[in-house]
């Protein structure tokens, strides 16, 4: 509400010039003229024509040059002729009649002026150069309205049915004939052809005269020249009887709204029917005005303006005036109402009174307010009996500017929103004004509102803000667009200074207020002076908000750079480390040179490292991570995100994790870098901190050019076995490297690790035997799993790869207890005996040994194995059990006698009986097995024979109609043959086709037939 009330401050209409028409026209003061009617017409040549009708029947023409308007209200009362640049000039006058000129309207379409005097209509050319014509066919005129064409609606031709025509072709000649009257149904009158009518321009008028309504079309015939002395004007008219008492009317589209003392009526031009819109109570004078832009009408009811559309339906709420106006004028988006020298402007949409003013007291009397007929001129003329006042509509910008000058920001914003909603401001202007607001609010320390306004401005360029963040001159100074703002705010300075200056002015205002002087400074600030820190915080936070929105926009690349760089500046100012790092590590346009020193000095090294990395300056980024990792250990660097309270207690853990983080970040970078020198340069320190990180970047497949494996292996510290192995493993398993050297290296490395682990384990075992109970069980299992993990890997690799040098590996494992590995190696080397020895004798893994024999697949190997079992040498006893087992499993290729021979003669029968029994049982078992197989085979053979017999002894019935399936000859008593697929052929065809292919094309050799009965079911 506050904003609405204070709108009274606004000056929408400013009176700037007044004149006495009689004096200006040089009439004698002895015969005073009274102004009774006025019309304003903005002529195409920038001059505005003012027509003044007097009480004595004179029409005076003045020309107003709006560009000469002097701002203060000047008067022509004294020395009017001495003033060189008077805006109003008298052109000429003409006498119409000796009665009051009640109404003037300019018919711009045909360049004529229409006057109403003494109940008659008169036409005169717009510059009053030619003689006046009286339209004598009509008298007792009480009201006139031109037709307002309604855009977007059908505006039908009111003369469709016929009209009376008159031609005004020579001076002195009144209207000729009047053929018929009223509406003629069949155009019997001298109706002009459409061709004739279409040729020139025309205008429509509605005239209320006596008890009838007359619709008139005045047209310039096509062959008539406007300036010709006797220019041809045709007039068509049609009369509607029975409509009387009209005091006011307006014609919009197809509707004519008539105002009488009883009320308002709607007359439809298309149907010819009338209806009551609403009736008026006593003492409420009728007054209709059309509102041009909306094609609506304002109907006066007491002091209420009822807005209706052309169909008589209400539109919006009523406008409530403070008095019953004498005159109402449309000046979009306002209506001006006036009475007795007082004027009020109401906003049509909201009904709010925005301005009131009174004319000087001497001028009080009946008052006429005129704008041009279309309601959008910027000049309004107010007529009082003896004086005319020219008023100018203040532009939207000026109105806003005035409010801003008074620092009425909220009112100004309200006004802008109002203008925006009514489409009175262009988008550009709106954006400009929003930006202007923003700057003013910024300097008033209302940072949040300022940024809100900046964000609403489409034309605001982020570079306009740069100077608030970084002092001028800077890298982006030249980008700032030279916008001509209204000069209401000082040039941009850094935010700190804005805040300081603002605080000084608040202090000054506080002081002045104590001294009783009112200032424009915000009351809120005066009552609760803000702290500098709070203001600065708010300023930076809001500018960050603006920058973040700006980032998303499509900007020129230098502006983008500025936005991101300065955003970093602002984050840094608030020490928002996580935001800084987020910005630095994401896609950004920061200018590194601008930030390097700054971030380095303030210790935001992580941010700097991220920034370097995002800009592809990997070497620098890595150096920082290296420094950070080092400084962690010296306790120099603190993680700002870590809570400071716990720092002391967890320092060692933090230190470790901090170093790890640095190594991990460096590793992340190195994963994509193809520069081998750089990668290898940083291998060492990362490996020192975290081998896993080192491995990750060594085996990364993200880089474009892979590193040279030889160089990498050479660079890996020999003590970093894990890295070494994992790298080789990756080369071999993931990269499918066929390089024998790598395979050998990997095998050797795994072998060494395994030996080391096994040895360590055995030592531990020895040590632990005594004190096993003291150690956690989990530790032991961990150790074990590690050992087996590596060992398993070694075994798997040794078995899977054929590319390593087994001899070299063997050398390493030779002295160890890695028997299985040795077996694998020997096997690779083709030393079967060695393999069998290890498997059978050393490891005593009969199954593996037998499996190995099976893989080799020769019977002599079994013999060899058996021999080994029976004579293990080195003073070992023969291994009878595995030998018997071998015999049992692979007896068919072994001689049991060999085993028997090996049995020691001294062996007690008790011991040997088991072996003997097993041997004998195995033999018997083999024999039985063989018999069974033999019997089964003979059964199959018998079955087959039977099936063959059955097949051959099939019966077939041949009758007279039987034909050969091949030649289709009747078989009759001929010899024939049948195939297994039951096709029958004559003997001749059988000879021809042969046995293997039937007459149906079945080839039994390629595609044998099986019948269910043939299958052996037992």
């Amino acid at each position: 509400m506050e904003a609405i009330l204070s709108e009274k401050d606004r000056a929408v209409l400013i009176p700037y010039y007044d004149f006495d028409p009689a004096k200006l026209a040089g009439f004698s003061p002895a015969v005073p003229l009274t102004i009774r009617s006025i019309a304003v017409f903005p002529a195409p040549d920038c001059q505005t024509l003012i027509y003044v009708g007097t009480g004595g029947g004179k029409l005076l023409l003045f020309s107003l040059n709006p560009s000469l308007s002097t701002s203060p209200l000047t008067s022509l009362d004294d020395d009017s002729n001495a003033h060189p640049a008077v805006p109003v000039v008298f052109l000429r006058s003409v006498t119409i009649s000796n009665r009051v000129i009640e109404f003037i309207t300019v018919l711009s379409e045909i360049g004529r002026v229409l006057l109403l005097s003494d109940g008659f209509l008169f036409l005169v050319d717009s510059l009053l150069l030619r003689s006046v014509r009286k339209l004598g066919f009509i008298k007792d005129v009480t009201a006139i309205s031109t037709r307002l064409v309604q855009l977007g609606f059908p505006n039908s031709d009111p003369f469709r049915d016929g009209a009376v025509r008159a031609e005004l072709s020579s001076p002195g000649q009144t209207f000729l004939k009047k053929i018929g009257g009223g509406i003629r149904v069949n155009g019997a009158g001298s109706r002009l052809s459409d061709l004739q009518r279409g040729g020139g321009s025309s205008c429509f008028l509605a005239v209320a005269a006596g008890k009838k309504l007359v619709l008139i079309e005045i047209l310039l015939t096509s062959n008539a020249d406007l300036d010709a002395e006797h220019g041809g004007i045709s007039i068509l008219w049609t009369e509607i009887q029975g409509i009387g008492g009209v005091k006011t009317m307006a014609w919009v589209g197809d509707s004519i709204i008539l105002g009488t003392a009883e009320g308002y009526h709607l007359f439809s031009v298309t149907t010819g029917k009338g209806s009551l819109i609403f009736s008026l109570p006593d003492s409420s004078p009728p007054l209709v005005r059309y509102l041009v832009r909306s094609s609506n009408l304002l109907l006066l009811f007491d002091n209420v303006g009822v807005v209706s559309n052309a169909l008589g339906h209400p539109v919006g709420g009523s406008l409530i005036f403070q008095y019953v106006p004498e005159t109402i004028t449309d000046m979009h988006p306002y209506v001006i109402v006036a009475r007795d020298g007082r004027l009020d402007l109401y906003r049509k949409k909201t009904g709010v009174c925005v301005q009131s003013f009174s004319l000087p007291k001497s001028s009080v009397g009946p008052c006429i307010v005129v704008n041009d007929d279309l309601g959008n001129g910027n000049v309004v003329v107010i007529g009082t009996p003896y004086k005319a006042f020219c008023c100018r509509k203040v532009s939207v910008e000026k109105q806003i500017k005035e409010l801003l000058r008074k620092k009425h920001f909220r009112e100004a914003i309200y006004l802008v929103e109002e203008f925006q909603s009514e489409g009175e401001m262009t988008r550009e202007m709106l954006s400009f004004v929003r930006a202007q607001f923003g700057f003013l609010l910024l300097f008033e320390l209302h940072f949040e509102e300022a940024v809100d306004q900046f964000l609403l401005s489409e034309s605001m360029d982020p570079s306009e803000i740069f100077l608030f963040i970084m002092r001028d001159p800077n890298r982006w100074s030249h980008l700032v667009p030279r916008k001509r703002y209204w000069g209401l705010h000082p040039p941009p300075v850094p935010l700190e200074q804005v805040v300081d200056d603002g605080l000084v002015s608040i202090q000054r205002a506080v002081f002045l207020r104590k001294a009783g002087i009112v200032t424009t400074t915000d009351d809120e600030f005066i009552l609760n002076p803000p702290s500098r820190a709070d203001l600065l915080q708010s300023a930076i936070e809001n500018i960050i908000r603006y920058m973040l929105v700006s980032r998303e926009k499509d900007l020129l690349s230098p502006v983008k750079e500025g936005v991101d760089t300065l955003l970093m500046y602002l984050y840094r100012a608030l020490n928002q480390v996580s935001d800084m790092e987020k910005l630095a590590s994401s896609q950004n346009s920061c200018v590194v040179e601008e930030l390097e020193t700054l971030l380095d000095d303030s210790g935001h090294l992580r941010t700097l490292a991220f920034l370097y990395a995002s800009k592809g300056m990997y070497s620098k980024a890595l150096s920082i991570w290296r420094v950070l990792a080092k400084n962690y250990s010296t306790g120099f660097w603190k993680d700002p995100t870590a809570s400071s309270g716990d720092y002391a207690s967890d320092s060692s853990a933090d230190l470790l994790s901090g170093q790890r983080v640095a190594a991990a970040e460096a590793s992340k970078l190195l994963q994509e870098i193809s520069d081998q020198t750089l990668v290898l340069e940083h291998l060492e320190w990362i490996a020192d901190i975290d081998q896993e990180s080192a491995i990750l970047f060594l085996i990364s497949e993200k880089r474009i050019n892979q590193l040279s494996p030889g160089d990498v292996i050479a660079s890996i510290d020999s003590k970093k076995i894990e890295i070494h192995q994992r790298y080789l493993q990756w080369l071999i398993e993931d990269q499918d490297s066929d390089d024998m050297q790598f395979h050998t290296l990997y095998a050797l490395s795994l072998a060494r690790s395994t030996i080391e682990l096994v040895e360590r384990h055995s030592m531990q075992d020895n040590r632990l035997t005594g004190k096993y109970n003291k150690m956690g069980v989990s530790d032991v299992t961990d150790q074990d799993s590690l050992k087996y993990n590596i060992r398993e890997r070694l075994q798997l690799f040794l078995q899977a790869s054929d590319l390593y040098d087994p001899e070299l590996v063997l050398k390493v494992v030779e002295g160890s207890e890695l028997w299985l590995e040795k077996a694998i190696l020997y096997r690779k080397m083709g030393l079967e005996e060695m393999v069998l020895q290890i498997l059978a004798l050393k490891l005593e893994d009969c199954e593996a040994a037998e499996q190995y024999c099976a893989e080799i697949g020769r019977s002599d190997v079994y013999m060899q194995l058996l021999a080994m079992y029976l004579d293990p040498q080195d003073g070992k006893e023969p291994m009878f059990k595995p030998a018997v087992r071998l015999l049992h499993n692979h007896g068919e290729s072994l001689d049991p006698l060999q085993l028997l021979e090996k049995l020691s003669p001294e062996m007690p029968l008790q011991l040997s009986s088991d072996i003997l029994l097993r041997i004998l049982r195995a033999r018997v078992h083999h024999r039985h097995q063989g018999k069974i197989v033999h019997d089964l085979s003979s059964a199959l053979s018998v079955d087959t024979q039977l099936a063959r017999l059955e097949e051959r002894s099939r019966n077939v019935q041949i009758n007279d109609e039987s034909v050969c399936d091949s030649c289709h000859a009747h078989l009759g008593t001929k010899l024939f043959a049948m195939y297994p697929d039951d096709s029958i052929v004559c003997y001749k065809c059988y000879r021809r086709l042969g046995e293997s292919t039937s007459a149906r094309g079945h080839n039994f050799k390629e595609n044998p037939i099986f019948k269910p009965g043939w299958l052996v079911t037992r």
Binding site: G263, L276, I277, F278, S279, L280, P281, F301, D302, N303, V304, G305, V306, S308, G312, H313, P314, G316, G317, S318, L319, I320
Partner: protein
């Protein structure tokens, strides 16, 4: 959800009629802005408001004309009720004269207005029970007799304000649907008598 309904928004011209100081403006203010002003200024001419109401899958946009109750402005009323889809005739339950006036409005609407207009009778100031002069039964009987929808409201306590608009919206939509099905036929407003009891399910 709202987007899906946009294409189904139906405009309904609604007019409030009734004697002076019965609370027409207060009912509208309560419905449109959810406010109540103890000393509401007398309406001059007519005030305009708009408010949308979602009912199931349809949306009704009310264009509300709040007319002046003063006798002097009586002649303006036809302009507002002409072509109205709905009318709320308001009386003050503490003032018998306003009920009499309301009956006159009903008569005028029946004789002058649109036959399809959904009419509702609102007994306002229902919070002032002690000062009651018009019984609900009396008003209800009159409403049934004249095919009106009747409800007692209180703009002050918000009782039944949303409900009356909801019921009007429902009846309006039903009338529209019937009109679409039977474009030539007349619409019988009082046919589904059961509906008058099931109020306020849509507003809460």
């Amino acid at each position: 959800m709202a987007a899906a309904h946009e294409n189904k928004v139906k405009n309904a011209k609604l007019v409030l009629l009734g004697d002076v100081a019965t609370g027409k403006s207060s009912i509208v203010l309560r419905f449109v802005k959810g406010q109540f002003v103890e000393f509401q200024e007398s309406t001059i001419g007519a005030a305009f408001f708009s408010q949308t109401l979602a009912l199931n899958d349809e949306t009704v946009k009310f264009e509300i004309w709040d007319t002046a109750g003063q006798e002097r402005y009586h002649s303006l009323a036809p302009m507002y009720y002409r072509g109205a889809a709905a009318a709320i005739i308001v009386y003050d339950i503490t003032n018998l004269a306003t009920f009499t006036r309301a009956k006159k409005w009903v008569q005028e609407l029946q004789s002058q207005g649109n036959a399809n207009t959904v009419m509702a009778l609102a007994g306002n100031k229902a919070d002032l029970v002690e000062a009651r002069k018009v019984t609900a039964e009396e008003a209800q009987a009159y409403a049934v007799e004249n095919g009106l929808f009747f409800i007692e409201t209180s703009a002050k306590t918000a009782i039944n304000v949303n409900e009356i608009f909801c019921e009007i919206a429902k009846r309006f939509l039903q009338a529209q649907a019937q009109q679409q099905q039977n474009p030539n036929g007349t619409i019988q407003m009082d046919r589904p008598a059961t509906r008058s009891t099931a109020v306020s399910s849509c507003c809460s």
